[in-house]
């Protein structure tokens, strides 16, 4: 199977998964126990107001028609009206998506820097003190819940050292860099804990290979060997792991946005649950699943370009 056929298959699978995701989100309200109308209005609502809300939400129509309404709204980002804000859900959510994506990309960049620095150090100093220290420290980061880590960082950098803001998002994009540093670092430390382990293992594996021995025998400097021969090959599997971890990153933004009071999608999600604003919850779930699907597709496809040896099953 060639690359074109592979990409075509991946796209077909993606369309299927996107479709499946909409069915899960659509079905959840209808399958899980509990009447959405009472869920939204509270238990003490009268039967009349619940019936009126059911009509407003379109829950009295035939199931297929409801699904059609749901699906046809997605391309225009119409997810009904927010019950709390009395605004179209699409406007409300889409305004906050860039904030969360900014945070996620920032976290990815920091995670890449941390992973490369410590992953390479650990591999080159294998078995020595630096290796053990990195392993222990990042084992701790792996099991540290992000909301607690965020609070520790606030205590140290914002309240003790007073060099970074406690919370918020700022006005300009330079502000954003400063305001989002600690939240992004919180996410990045958890993410790198997984990635460093993999990168270290991969580098050690590649260093044993024949082509690295050849490169050294040619008389290349160790730095050149590392950059051109070892890293290029060792990074490939790490990128795959990263794609798999992207869901963790998106979930993490929910927590971190709450800790640092960042006006992103995650903060809206938590507010909407407390306010029983189900249409908003639905839209955010859908968008975050879409993001994960697209990133994983991008990872798979970029893989086929970055590594010409990849064979497609």
């Amino acid at each position: 199977m060639g690359r074109v056929a592979y990409i075509r298959n991946r796209l077909a699978l993606m369309v299927f998964v996107l479709f499946g995701v909409t069915i899960v989100i659509f079905g959840m309200v209808r399958v899980l126990p509990g009447d959405p109308a009472f869920l939204i209005l509270g238990d003490r609502a009268t039967e009349e107001s619940a019936a009126a809300l059911r009509v407003q939400l379109g829950l009295t129509k035939p199931l297929l028609e409801q699904y059609w309404d749901f699906m046809s709204g997605i391309p225009q980002a119409k997810f009904g009206m927010s019950l709390l804000y009395r605004q179209p859900v699409g406007d409300l959510v889409l305004r906050r998506v860039p904030v969360s994506i900014y945070l996620a990309i920032y976290a990815m960049v920091l995670a890449a820097i941390i992973t490369l620095t410590f992953g390479i150090t650990a591999a080159l100093k294998k078995g020595r003190f630096a290796d053990h220290a990195i392993r222990v420290v990042f084992l701790l980061f792996l099991t540290t819940p992000s909301f607690w880590l965020g609070i520790l960082l606030i205590l140290f950098f914002s309240l003790r050292l007073r060099i970074l803001p406690v919370a918020g998002y700022g006005e300009t994009s330079i502000d954003h860099l400063r305001y989002l540093f600690l939240p992004a670092l919180t996410l990045a430390l958890g993410l790198s804990a997984v990635l460093i382990r993999n990168l270290r293992g991969q580098i050690i594996l590649v260093q044993r290979s024949d082509y690295v021995r050849t490169a050294r025998a040619k008389g290349l400097f160790e730095g050149q060997v590392l950059q051109r021969h070892v890293l290029r090959n060792a990074l490939m599997p790490v990128i795959t792991i990263f794609g798999l971890q992207f869901g963790y990153l998106v979930g993490g933004t929910v927590v971190v946005e709450t800790v640092f009071a960042i006006p992103g999608m995650g903060q809206l999600l938590i507010q909407s649950i407390t306010a029983r604003d189900y249409p908003v919850v639905q839209a955010i779930t859908l968008i975050s699943a879409f993001l994960v699907i697209i990133v994983n597709l991008a990872v798979d496809i970029s893989y086929s370009f970055l590594d010409p040896r990849v064979t497609y099953e």
């Binding site: 699978l13 299927f16 998964v17 499946g20 995701v21 069915i23 899960v24 989100i25 959840m28 309200v29 899980l32 126990p33 509990g34 959405p36 869920l39 084992l139 701790l140 792996l142 099991t143 540290t144 819940p145 992000s146 909301f147 607690w148 609070i151 520790l152 606030i154 205590l155 309240l159 869901g247 963790y248 998106v250 979930g251 993490g252 929910v254 927590v255 709450t258 800790v259 999600l269 938590i270 909407s272 649950i273 407390t274 029983r276 189900y278 919850v281 639905q282 955010i284 779930t285 975050s288 699943a289 994960v292 699907i293 994983n296």
Partner: protein, 292 residues
């Protein structure tokens, strides 16, 4: 499994310990010490949870406003008190009951159901497997935490609904592990032998294949427990799980967050407990999976 040398292979050539043997023994020792260290740490926490009333003279919920915001190392309150004057050490020790309960209960259903699904789809293959893998593809597209939160938004907050939500999402990992193992097992001789002898398929799957394929799922239980404790604490932190005043570490951190400037010990100390449980379970899980 084939990488592991048999006793014969190891000792038939020479009784002398080679450098390679030493390396192997060192590795074994290191892995065993991971498991033992993790187990001891976990047992200490379990013991503390059971003996909570003996370890602390205070009621974890009773308020005493005259003793609010005492810093750690105050007389009578080794870890200080919170905004209601409740003893933090007591709340952390009693909180262990809640967080350990989450760790154990939240993996039961995912482990049982996931393993069963894995062995069935792996053994029968074909259409069953195809459908299963597509379901997995779809569920894996959701960020774990967001799907759990979305389900809880429908069911309502509280721990009962947390267990349901994590049950709906958590079984996939176990099913994938057991499925993979079953695929490698189902054509082995003993399965063929059982078929030839005329065993019913139900019996073959449950008595012959499942016990041989469940090991990776059993090992994953510890990783699943870490995930469960952290998710439970996170949801409690977000106000969706354990509700105050019940002592639970995530909820305590959430309460303490409001008093960051006045009482740094309120949000930090419960997190240490969470970290200890997380590290203990991770050590056991890592050790077991490396030993395999």
């Amino acid at each position: 499994m084939s990488e592991r040398p048999t006793a014969l292979e190891r000792y038939s050539w020479s009784d002398a310990l080679t450098a390679r043997d030493l390396g192997r023994e060192w590795r074994k020792l290191r892995i065993n010490s991971l498991i033992i260290g993790g187990t001891i740490l976990l047992l200490i926490v379990i013991l503390a949870a059971i003996c909570a009333p003996l370890l602390t003279p205070y009621d974890p919920i009773a308020m005493n406003l005259s003793e609010a915001f005492l810093p750690p190392l105050s007389p009578g309150h080794a870890l200080g008190t919170d905004n209601f004057g409740r003893d933090i050490w007591s709340r952390i020790v009693y909180g262990a009951r809640m967080d350990l309960q989450i760790a154990f209960l939240a993996v039961l259903f995912p482990f049982a159901f996931g393993s069963l699904m894995g062995v069935i789809t792996g053994y029968f293959g074909g259409k069953v497997d195809l459908v299963f893998m597509r379901v997995v593809d779809v569920l894996m597209a959701f960020p774990f935490l967001i799907l759990v939160i979305a389900i809880m938004s429908l069911l309502g907050t509280g721990m009962k609904n947390f267990y349901i939500a994590i049950g709906v999402v958590g079984w996939i990992a176990y099913a994938r592990l057991v499925r993979g193992e079953t695929l490698a097992t189902r054509n082995l001789e003993y399965v063929q032998a059982a078929t030839v002898v005329g065993c019913q398929e139900r019996r073959i799957v449950l008595r012959h294949v499942l016990p041989n394929c469940i090991q990776p799922a059993l090992i994953y239980v510890f990783t699943g427990m870490v995930l469960a404790v952290m998710t439970g604490a996170t949801l409690s932190f977000l106000g969706l799980g354990v509700q105050p005043p019940t002592p639970e570490w995530g909820a305590m951190i959430a309460e303490g967050r409001q008093f960051l400037l006045m009482a740094w010990w309120m949000p930090t100390l419960p997190g240490v407990a969470l970290l200890i449980v997380g590290v203990a379970l991770s050590l056991i899980g890592d050790g077991l999976s490396e030993r395999r």
